[in-house]
Symmetry: C2
Subunit: 138 residues, 2 copies
DNA sequence: GTAATGCTTCCCATGATGGTAAGGTCAAGG
DNA sequence: CCTTGACCTTACCATCATGGGAAGCATTAC
C-alpha cells in the first residue's frame, strides 16, 4: 500500500509519516522500483500506535520508548507504567498551571464591569508594578 | 538604562526584548551614540505588562491588542474584558483536553499491574485497531 | 592599559505540523 | 498511443516563542 493509503488507514498524515521516518521514530519502509514507499498492515498498525500515543499527549521522543517496549516481548509492564505515570504527572502539571492562569484571569475579568468606560482592573493589574526608578543606575 | 538592566527590571530577557521590538510588538527605543538601546522606566513598565500577559498565557498577537487598549485612554473596558474572556475560554478548552488525556491514561495505568511481566493493557490499547483483529485476542 | 563584562547583529535550533513547488509515476479513458 | 489527473518524490519555508552561540565593538573596572 502507498503512503496515501497508509495515511488514511492510520490517521497519520503522509507528511508526518515521512517526518517520523526521517527522525528515525519508525523504520524506513520498502520502496517500489519508482521509489514509492510501500507499507504493510503491520506498518499501519505501528502508525496507529504512534497516532494514539500522540493523542494522549506523549512527545515523539517518549513514543520511541513506547514503541521499543511494544516490540520487546520480554518487556516489564512496570517500565510501561512508569512512562505512562510520567506522562500523567506532566499533564497534571500543565493542567495546574493553566488552571492558575485561568483563575487569575477570571478574577480580573469578574472585577471588570465591561462597559463603555475606560476603567479596567484587568489592564490595571497587567500594568501595575513598581516603576523601578533605579535598579542599577548608571 | 541598557537592555540588560531593562531585562532584569522587567523579567523579560534581553533576547526577547529585541525579538518583541523586531516584530513590532514594542516600539524601538532610543539609542546611544554607540548604538546601545536605551530604555526608560515607562518602557520597563510596558515590558512588565508584556511579561504579565505572557504569564497569563496570552499569545503575543493578543498582547499587541492589549497594549493598544492599555495605551488608549478612551478604551471601552468591555473590549478588554472580551479579550480576557476569550483567553479564559481558550484556557478552559485546553484544560478540558488535557484532563481527558490524563483520565484516559490514568485509566489505562490503573489497569496495568506494573510488574516484571510483559502483559500491559496500556500497550494493548495503544496498539489496538482493526488490523489487529486477525491476532488472537487475549 | 588591560581584562572583563556588556552590547550589537546574524544565524541556527527547538517540536510537530502544514504548505508549496518542481518534477517523476501510474492508471484510466479516448 | 497519448493525455489527463491523481499520486508520489524531495526540498524548502513557515509557524510560535525562546534560547544558544559567534564575531566584533563599547564600556567599565581595576
Amino acid at each position: 500500500m502507498n503512503i496515501g493509503d497508509a495515511a488514511k488507514a492510520s490517521g497519520v498524515s503522509a507528511k508526518m509519516i515521512r517526518y517520523y521516518e526521517s527522525t528515525g521514530l519508525i523504520p524506513a519502509p520498502g520502496r517500489t522500483g519508482a521509489g514509492y514507499r510501500v507499507y504493510s498492515d503491520s506498518d499501519v498498525q505501528m502508525l496507529r500506535f504512534v497516532r494514539r500515543s500522540r493523542d494522549l499527549g506523549f512527545p515523539v521522543e517518549k513514543i520511541a520508548d513506547l514503541l521499543a517496549l511494544w516490540r520487546d516481548r520480554s518487556r516489564h509492564s512496570a517500565d510501561v507504567k512508569r512512562l505512562a505515570q510520567d506522562q500523567i504527572d506532566g499533564l497534571e502539571r500543565k493542567i495546574t498551571e493553566l488552571q492558575a492562569m485561568k483563575e487569575t484571569l477570571q478574577h480580573l475579568a469578574d472585577a471588570c464591569c465591561g462597559d463603555h468606560r475606560p476603567d479596567c482592573p484587568i489592564l490595571a493589574d497587567l500594568g501595575k508594578g513598581p516603576i523601578l526608578s533605579k535598579v542599577s543606575p548608571r
